[in-house]
């Protein structure tokens, strides 16, 4: 199947580096792409996949390294330039205008007509040509929005493909497709591949990776972990590469965890779930216990924490907190019953950027008290001051707008808000996302400290070592389903990876 390796590479990216203020997004990454291959690019959120792709397609400029196209060094300053060299991208969200006809959507973009005047007769003909490349036979005068997502996805690909397109980047093209639609898309990908196109395929569905790709590259924290022939790497090794190994020191400091057994049941979920979000699951949290949530990107980690908190409304099962029925509770009720939640996406769901650190910390506590009983200003300042000291939030004063803080400090403010509401149960979704290693260890230590004080914690994380270091028990998720739990002494990387990979891992 793979005679491509002897060909000359179409794209060679060498020692690519890219930094954003405060973050090293990519360092020293090599990436090669041969004609006629499907190359899967894997990694968790923030691993650097989209940065690498944006550099390839000219949307971002690199800080270091070189890109060669058919052996010649190139420098793209815009996506237009990359497109002119035959590199096209289809993004996850379909970038089409739903109310416009297929023809009009396919005509958008750099005009090749004289004086920018569009001849609709020609445009229709060109649209049909583009679609016929994908063997897609639809009425080009219908609005794009009237077709299924799969067809829209194909139209987007048709839009990206030109006569001279030689490299096609597909960013999570199957995220919103069902099995049948995915099969259709894969047939087309195989066809394009047979015609010598080089295809970059980004996804988090491992089954699809093995089904369609020839080679696999794994990124983690901005580094290339490895590039493999798909036929030569097992599913377990692949998962192991995606989920890192970085927390050695923390692991050591926390070796003494779980001196005492777990306390009484704090939270019991039975058959809790929601269609298309997460299959019904059972979950129990005890006082003085940390339960880790492990699974790959898109496996349902975030969804589980949100279902428990009520940020996503469940449509099946029940939830009891301290013996009280909390099924179908709103975030507000959950908070009142002593659950606090720190969301993964700080900017969108965590912080109110224009408000001060003090106001952000007070928000949940004040919401619990109600609007009439405002906490006196002096007490607000006292609590904010205590939190700033206890969590080590680096700021000159509590009145600074929270958007001016660094990522790690913002994360601590979200945590401070949850703690200020004095919860018995704490749900943390990716508590260490995007923060530096020092703060990383601090937060893990804090999690263990809260647990020893009798709090029940649920910690979702993409960092396997973090889960291993912090948890007394681990719940494992795969493809939007809870597949099992690992307890006490059995908690280690290999056991978790084996469970994430599932039973069919032997095939590869």
């Amino acid at each position: 199947m793979n005679a491509t390796a002897i060909d000359k590479p179409r794209v060679e990216m060498r020692s690519i580096g890219k930094s954003f203020p405060g973050v090293r997004a990519l360092s020293n990454v090599d990436f090669t792409l041969y004609p006629g291959e499907v190359h899967a690019l894997l990694g968790e959120n923030g691993a650097g996949k989209s940065t690498l792709i944006k550099i390839l397609t000219g949307a971002l400029n690199r800080d270091a390294g070189e890109i060669r196209l058919d052996g010649k060094a190139v420098n793209f300053n815009s996506t237009g330039e990359a497109q002119a060299h035959g590199i096209s991208t289809v993004y996850q969200e379909v970038n089409l205008i739903p109310a416009m006809s297929v023809t009009k959507n396919l005509t958008l973009g750099p005009s090749r007509d004289a004086l920018g005047v569009i001849s609709w007769g020609k445009a229709r003909k060109r649209a049909r040509e583009k679609l016929s490349r994908l063997k897609l036979n639809i009425d080009t005068e219908q609005p794009v929005g009237s077709f299924s997502v799969a067809v829209q996805q194909l139209v987007a690909i048709a839009h990206a493909l030109d006569d001279d397109t030689s490299v096609l980047v597909l960013d999570e093209p199957t995220a919103s497709l069902d099995a049948q639609e995915t099969a259709t898309l894969f047939a087309i990908i195989r066809d394009l591949k047979a015609r010598g196109m080089a295809i970059v395929f980004i996804t988090h569905f491992l089954d699809q990776v093995y089904e369609i790709s020839d080679r696999i590259s794994v990124l983690r924290n901005g580094n290339l972990v490895g590039t493999h022939m798909a036929s030569e790497i097992s599913r377990q090794d692949l998962i192991s590469e995606m989920i890192g190994r970085e927390l050695g020191e923390v692991e050591a400091t926390l070796a003494h965890k779980a001196e005492s057994g777990p306390g009484k049941q704090k939270l019991v979920a039975r058959d809790l779930g929601r269609k298309r979000t997460l299959k019904p699951f059972d979950l129990t949290l005890h006082a003085g216990e940390v339960v880790g949530l492990a699974g790959l990107l898109g496996s349902g980690r975030t969804e589980m924490t949100k279902l428990v908190f009520g940020a996503i409304r469940s449509d099946s099962g029940e939830l009891h907190v301290d013996g009280q029925d909390m099924s179908g509770a709103t975030p507000r009720r959950s908070l009142a019953s002593g659950i606090a939640f720190c969301p993964e996406d700080r900017k969108a769901e965590g912080l109110v950027g224009d408000l001060s650190i003090r106001e952000n910390i007070m928000l949940s506590m004040q919401a619990k008290r109600g609007w009439l009983r405002q906490l006196p200003r002096r007490e607000q300042e006292k609590i904010a001051g205590e939190m700033i000291r206890a969590l080590g939030i680096a700021t000159p004063d509590a009145e600074k707008p929270v958007r001016q803080l660094s990522g790690g400090n913002q994360q601590k403010v979200v945590l401070a808000r949850a703690l200020a509401s004095n919860p018995g149960i704490l749900l943390l979704d990716e508590p260490t996302r995007g923060i530096d290693v020092g703060a990383h260890a601090e937060i893990i230590t804090l999690i263990r400290k809260l647990c020893n004080e009798g709090m029940a914690l649920l910690v979702a994380s993409s960092e396997l070592d973090e889960i291993v270091a912090a948890s007394d028990r681990v719940a494992v998720l795969r493809d939007r389903e809870k597949v099992g739990e690992i307890d006490g002494a059995d908690i280690n990387r290999d056991n978790i990876i084996r469970m994430i990979a599932g039973d069919d891992s032997g095939q590869h």
Partner: protein
């Protein structure tokens, strides 16, 4: 002279208070107000004169305060709604409805104190309608309040029909005292407006309502997850705007002794929005500046009064207003403030 200025540049550091003032939000609107008054004073020599006529203070400064009251009240409600990242276009129509309700109930012979409460209740009801559309039906605020903006004046005319609508003029000692009367030399409506401002300020700043409104306006999703009832908060904001518009309606209706739904308070929503924006509020929501909103309303009224007194033809009024608003907004913009701020500190070093 040039030598002296060079000296000051190298030797004297700019005091901290000057830097604070230059970078403060309040400086440009207040400066604009002072400048307008100075210009008006230089054009018309008696501008600052204040006399006592018939047991009440008179003069241009009093007149500016007096005339700014309805706009200021409406603008305060608008500031609260804008704080939630919303907008209320229906305020003028609410005033029209309130006026019609007042005349209708007077013709029906209600006690005038009851009529005052009926009028305020009408405003609250209008606010509840807007709040329902925005928070429960999730209609975009500009569209949701446009509905009442369009329908409101028609509703006012229908209410006038309830008593025949032939003679909408009325007399009411109570309401007219509240609008045009005075207590110890001071116009009643100024005292009334100050009381309403204080009550609103206490409600916003001495309860957690202000924090909740600002957090919902700043990030509704995060506020919800933090336990704030975003929908209820938004609803309350529109009710407050309806109530404050009703107060403005009472004062305006009593002032003219009549109900004129077609033309009363026409375009007041635009002045109210302008007042909020001049006061430093952003239509992106997330912050409420009550005091500065009042300054904003005063800037608008001072401009109008000053142009009229200066003897310029009235058509210049609107153009001058536009220019002043433009320059205040420009000076308030983050970029301009940064530029001016760095200019000041460069002089300091």
């Amino acid at each position: 002279m040039t030598v002296a200025s060079t000296d000051s540049r190298t030797d004297r550091p700019v005091p901290v208070w000057l830097k604070a003032i230059v970078q403060s939000r309040a400086v440009w609107p207040v400066l604009a107000l002072v400048l307008i008054l100075i210009v008006a004073g230089s054009v018309s020599p008696n501008f600052f004169e204040i006399r006592i006529v018939e047991g009440r203070l008179f003069g241009n400064l009093i007149d500016i305060l007096y005339r700014a009251v309805p706009t200021a009240l409406v603008a305060l409600g608008m500031a609260v709604v804008i704080g939630t990242r919303g907008i209320d276009l229906s305020v003028g129509s609410i005033i029209a409805i309130v006026g019609a309700v007042i005349v209708w109930r007077i013709k029906m012979g209600d006690p005038h104190i009851t009529i005052l409460f009926s009028a305020l209740a009408a405003g609250i009801l209008c606010g509840m309608w807007n709040g329902f559309l925005v928070s429960a039906l999730r209609i975009q605020p500009i569209i949701a309040t446009l509905i009442l903006m369009v329908a409101g004046r028609g509703i006012g005319m229908l209410i006038n029909q309830l008593y025949g609508g032939t003679d909408p003029s009325f007399e009411s000692a109570l309401l007219q005292w509240m609008s045009t009367g005075s207590i110890w030399l001071i116009p009643t409506r100024l005292i009334l407006a100050a009381g309403i401002f204080l009550a609103l300020w206490l409600l916003i700043r001495r309860t957690a309502l202000g924090l909740f409104i600002e957090s919902v306006g700043g990030n509704a999703a995060a506020s919800n997850l933090a336990g704030v009832k975003a929908g209820l908060i938004i609803f309350v904001a529109y009710v407050l705007s309806g109530l404050l518009s009703a107060w403005a309606g009472v004062i305006m209706t009593a002032d003219t002794h009549t109900s004129d739904p077609v033309s009363v308070a026409l375009y007041i929503e635009l002045d109210a929005i302008l007042a909020v924006v001049i006061g430093g509020g952003s239509l992106a929501g997330g912050r409420i500046y009550l005091g500065m909103t009042v300054i904003g309303a005063l800037v608008i009224q001072a401009l109008t009064t000053a142009t009229l007194i200066s003897g310029l033809p009235p058509e210049y009024n609107l153009i001058i207003k536009a220019l002043v608003v433009l320059s205040v907004l420009f000076l308030q913009s983050a970029n301009a403030r940064k530029a001016i701020g760095s200019l000041v500190s460069r002089r300091a070093s």
